[in-house]
Symmetry: C2
Subunit: 189 residues, 2 copies
């Protein structure tokens, strides 16, 4: 089964209050960037579909000097559909991870090349960890007393665990690769 998760992601944002397609993109970029993303090419057609299926209603908000905002609100039917999806058990999904794939073919390049690749990969993820940290601080300040905050912090914590684990793996892997490097140098001499 290949369900359209984007549809539920959008419906989920609507469940927290009426927003525009533009706003939805912003939420994913600014709060949930750590585990989700959506492009406009998905969001706008989905919003159209949701209102056609009676899962959301559209109203237009006029602004001066700026384009009109198309605001969508979730309907009772929409909320029901969302809840049904939320309690459905998640399925196992095999992601595609480029870093281990490249290392799987590591014999094709030099140990030095492999080391550079892992070092670069480590940098990417330590940057991500920092980003999560700043989102966390911002939310803790902005959302005091908001009942959503506790759930949002849990999703940020997911990113913290995932990225720290990768840093740990990088360090172990770099140590192993450097050990191999020393060994081959010894054998050469």
């Amino acid at each position: 089964m290949r369900e359209n998760k984007s549809k539920y992601a959008v419906l989920g944002i609507l469940s927290m209050g009426p927003v525009s397609g533009y706003d939805i993109k912003k939420v994913f970029e600014n709060i949930a960037s750590n585990f989700w993303k959506e492009s406009y090419g998905q969001i706008y057609p989905i919003l159209k579909g949701l209102s056609e299926q009676g899962l959301a209603n559209r109203s237009i908000e006029k602004q001066m000097g700026k384009p009109d905002r198309h605001i969508y609100s979730i309907t009772d039917k929409g909320r029901k559909v969302l809840k049904k999806w939320l309690i459905e058990p998640v399925e196992r999904q095999i992601g595609r991870h480029e870093m281990p794939l490249k290392l799987f073919f590591g014999l094709q390049v030099s140990l030095e090349d492999n080391i550079h690749q892992v070092e670069h990969f480590r940098d990417l993820h330590s940057g991500e960890l920092e980003d999560i940290g700043s989102i966390e601080e911002r939310l803790k300040a902005e959302k005091v007393g908001d009942p959503k905050l506790e759930f949002w912090l849990m999703t940020l914590n997911y990113g913290k665990h995932a990225n720290s684990a990768i840093l740990g793996w990088c360090d172990e892997t770099l140590a192993r690769l450097r050990k191999m490097e020393k060994k081959t140098k010894k054998e050469e001499s």
Copy 2:
């Protein structure tokens, strides 16, 4: 830039020795299932493309009582293209993680529902950890002395770190959800 990584994944398998499309699928399923997968719908057209571009050569192996095997071998040009990709730095990729997405909308369902979901998610990943363990033992026995072994173990270690981190997150998250549950019960009484 939206590069075709499947092409390099297939080329990478060919770099380790001549194989058929069927074999390639098996390698991903039995050794690399932890970080990669390919469907026949991708593999066969890619192999066709590779031989058209001079990156692989095809030969046919006849078998009795079984269908012919179409064996592909990598060419020098193919090996060069693969190496170029292997040393290119990996890009940051925002995956889509359904579990934190659902938790992001956690307010829409009961704490109990959230707990069930996380418990189920935990089971999935502890199963995955076990799978990785058995692949590791099998490889250690089968591939003694093979220079690829060390690299393959590093990719398995990636899965170990990633999955252990998720288990840790699940435990923390379950504790937090249960604490919230107790608190709401107290408030009700």
